[in-house]
């Protein structure tokens, strides 16, 4: 190889081809993906995150929760995602179109969080999630900096954690979640792929189309 011009041309086309193929190609396929309107329910899916949950996603992103948690359920014959109760169906691209910062994740040090509010048999409620964030659980560290330990002035706050045992705050004190913790928990509770899109129904293999 002696020709510098050819080298540059080759390099540029290598990069351009992969960019066109992967970035433009997938953009052409998914870029215009629209919400799905269900006549019988008279509304479209997915729905946008409520404001507080959208702020919670920023907390999730800033703490890089995706370094241990995924948000994607794989199809039934690929891994134990559905057997673990993480979702009734596989996640599809349409589930994510309204999420400003998609957090698919690449590691499962902890469980998938896609359908946290519809776990069987019991889904964690706000109080459980708050306590888990405050105290940690198993391999998950505690996130105490998302909470404030403050003296009770007047009535105990409605958000104060009901902690027991060694975690109980000093007498006259209460542990209250910060706005960030409230937003994060609202986000976690709002995550869900409840609606069955046509493309999310598992393909029944083998047969001729009816």
């Amino acid at each position: 190889m002696k020709n510098g011009f050819l080298l540059f041309l080759g390099l540029f086309s290598a990069l351009g081809l992969s960019w066109a193929g992967i970035v433009l190609g997938s953009y052409a396929q998914l870029g215009a993906l629209a919400p799905y309107y269900d006549d019988s329910e008279a509304q479209s899916f997915p729905q946008r995150l409520p404001g507080i949950a959208a702020r919670g996603q920023l907390v999730y992103r800033d703490l890089n929760c995706a370094s241990c948690h995924t948000q994607q359920v794989r199809r039934p014959d690929f891994g134990s995602d559905q057997a673990r109760g993480w979702g009734e169906r596989q996640s599809v691209a349409r589930d994510y179109i309204f999420q400003p910062w998609v957090q698919l994740g690449q590691a499962r040090i902890g469980p998938d969080l896609t359908n946290l509010q519809s776990r069987k048999p019991t889904a964690p409620d706000e109080e459980d999630l708050m306590e888990m964030l405050y105290a940690g659980q198993g391999a998950m560290p505690a996130y105490r900096f998302l909470f404030v330990d403050r003296p009770v002035v007047g009535q105990v706050s409605e958000h104060a954690l009901a902690l027991t045992g060694s975690l109980r705050p000093a007498p006259g004190h209460e542990i209250v979640p910060t706005a960030r913790a409230l937003a994060l928990v609202a986000y976690l509770q709002g995550l869900g792929t409840g609606y069955d899109y046509p493309e999310a129904k598992p393909a029944v293999g083998g047969g001729e189309p009816k």
Partner: protein
């Protein structure tokens, strides 16, 4: 095959005083960042088996530590040291002193300043949580400008080379210098300034991650390896004609592995299918590089040994990548520590060891004096090789256990953590070995560059 006892004077002066300050500055920054990444990597590794470690520190919670470590390793270590090696190789092959050294200094300043601002951004909560592009948007244009300034010097060396012939090191160095700004800015625009919607973010990020791997990090390391092996062994490369095929294979096929980690995810299936085909096709590249550089395995100085172990880790990392990209294997290894094992093998093994080899070869010729201590060099080699091997094996074992347990729905996550604990402890030990080895490099580098005392009698050149 024989290690040179002393640097020939004319060799030391080719890049000469013009290149000394800018390139040693780049390298010094790179080594500092490498140590920082090592410390953070150690913290992250400890947190995996001891979640209470720094748990109440908002700066050092696990997610942020991972983000900081990854950014520092890629942009701090490879960005600085890799560029130092590429610019040095280009200047040497051009046969002229390094040009536009001032621009290199200014560019290095901007690059590292931008990186520092970006890391502060992650600490303050502006991290993007995008793999390989964790730095917040406002840091990136400064870094891009800095990179452009540094690359000018390489382009001048390449354009003004005395002989029109181009060597394999030329291709790899030019490819890395030229392609990075394009990928970097394309990813910035589509992921940060005007983010694409939905899962396209994950797809573009995958393209970016694999793109900087195959078009930037690997070429930077290979530019050094393709230069050092023939120089240190004194033999021409075998099957040189095939080298071009290996090069174009990496450049054309590499970025198509973008869907590598999206298997089974909510993305079109063709994206991961193409990634599997590309990962397997890349084996051709690894094979050619091994054949081309096989004299490295014949022994020689410390620099050559580093390159040899680096090559072995690089090829092995590629093989593991190809095997685990298969859907049947990914079923076991996806989302587990096995992915980190592969990454560490390729990054801390392949890229770092090859860069170390080039650094050990280049510094005496740059600084005009041999390395201060041969014992530190040997110590670094042993610690680095043992550390990388131990890290890859322990994380791989932890990953297999984790993957098998994940596939059993009845096993809770606390139990998985318990089962992998032993191997994660071993991985922590391996991380400390690597960090300790890198400290030896830093000590040796400071002694060699800063010490003015004449130690030439007892000094060593790899």
């Amino acid at each position: 095959m024989t290690a040179q006892a002393q640097v020939a004077p004319e060799e030391a002066s080719t890049v000469g005083s013009a290149g000394r300050l800018p390139l040693l500055l780049l390298l010094g920054c790179g080594i500092l960042w490498l140590l920082a990444a090592g410390v953070l990597g150690l913290v992250a590794a400890i947190q995996l088996h001891a979640p209470w470690f720094f748990e109440n520190c908002r700066i050092l919670n696990h997610g942020r530590v991972e983000a900081l470590r990854e950014s520092i390793w890629i942009y701090g270590w490879v960005g600085n040291a890799g560029l130092c090696v590429a610019l040095w190789v280009l200047a040497r092959l051009g046969g002229e002193p390094l040009r536009a050294g001032n621009l290199v200094v200014i560019g290095a300043g901007a690059w590292n300043l931008g990186l520092l601002v970006g890391l502060a951004g992650i600490v303050l909560g502006d991290g993007t949580a995008l793999p390989a592009l964790q730095l917040p948007g406002y840091a990136l244009p400064v870094m891009l400008a800095g990179y452009g300034a540094m690359a000018v010097s390489g382009v001048l060396s390449w354009a003004g080379r005395r002989r029109s012939v181009m060597f394999a090191s030329h291709w790899y160095a030019v490819a890395a210098l030229f392609l990075f700004p394009w990928i970097f800015s394309a990813a910035q625009v589509t992921l940060i300034w005007v983010p694409v919607r939905g899962v396209l973010q994950a797809i573009v990020d995958g393209w970016y991650t694999q793109g900087i791997w195959s078009l930037w990090m690997a070429p930077l390391a290979l530019a050094g390896a393709y230069y050092v092996v023939p120089k240190a062994t004194g033999r021409t490369l075998p099957s040189y004609d095939a080298a071009a095929l290996g090069f174009w294979c990496l450049v054309f096929v590499g970025p198509w592995t973008g869907g590598r980690h999206l298997i089974g995810g909510p993305v079109p299936a063709w994206i991961s299918s193409i990634a599997i085909v590309a990962s397997v096709t890349l084996l051709f590249h690894y094979l050619i590089v091994l054949i081309n550089l096989r004299w490295a395995f014949g022994g020689g100085g410390v620099a050559l040994k580093f390159v040899a172990f680096g090559l072995a880790a690089y090829a092995l990392g590629g093989l593991v990548d190809a095997v685990t990209s298969m859907r049947g294997v990914a079923l076991l290894t996806q989302f587990t520590h096995f992915d980190s094992a592969q990454q560490q093998l390729a990054f801390s093994g392949g890229i770092s060891l090859m860069l170390f080899g080039a650094v050990y070869f280049a510094v005496p010729r740059l600084a005009g004096r041999p390395w201060a201590s041969g014992a530190l060099m040997t110590g670094h080699l042993v610690l680095a090789v043992v550390g990388v091997a131990l890290l890859a094996v322990s994380l791989g074992a932890a990953g297999l256990i984790q993957g098998a347990a994940l596939n059993e729905p009845a096993v809770p996550f606390a139990e998985i953590a318990e089962r992998t604990r032993t191997w994660l402890l071993v991985a922590t030990a391996a991380d400390s070995l690597i960090l300790f080895g890198n400290l030896l490099l830093a000590a040796n580098f400071i002694q060699t560059v800063a010490c003015r005392c004449g130690r030439d009698q007892e000094a060593v050149t790899p």
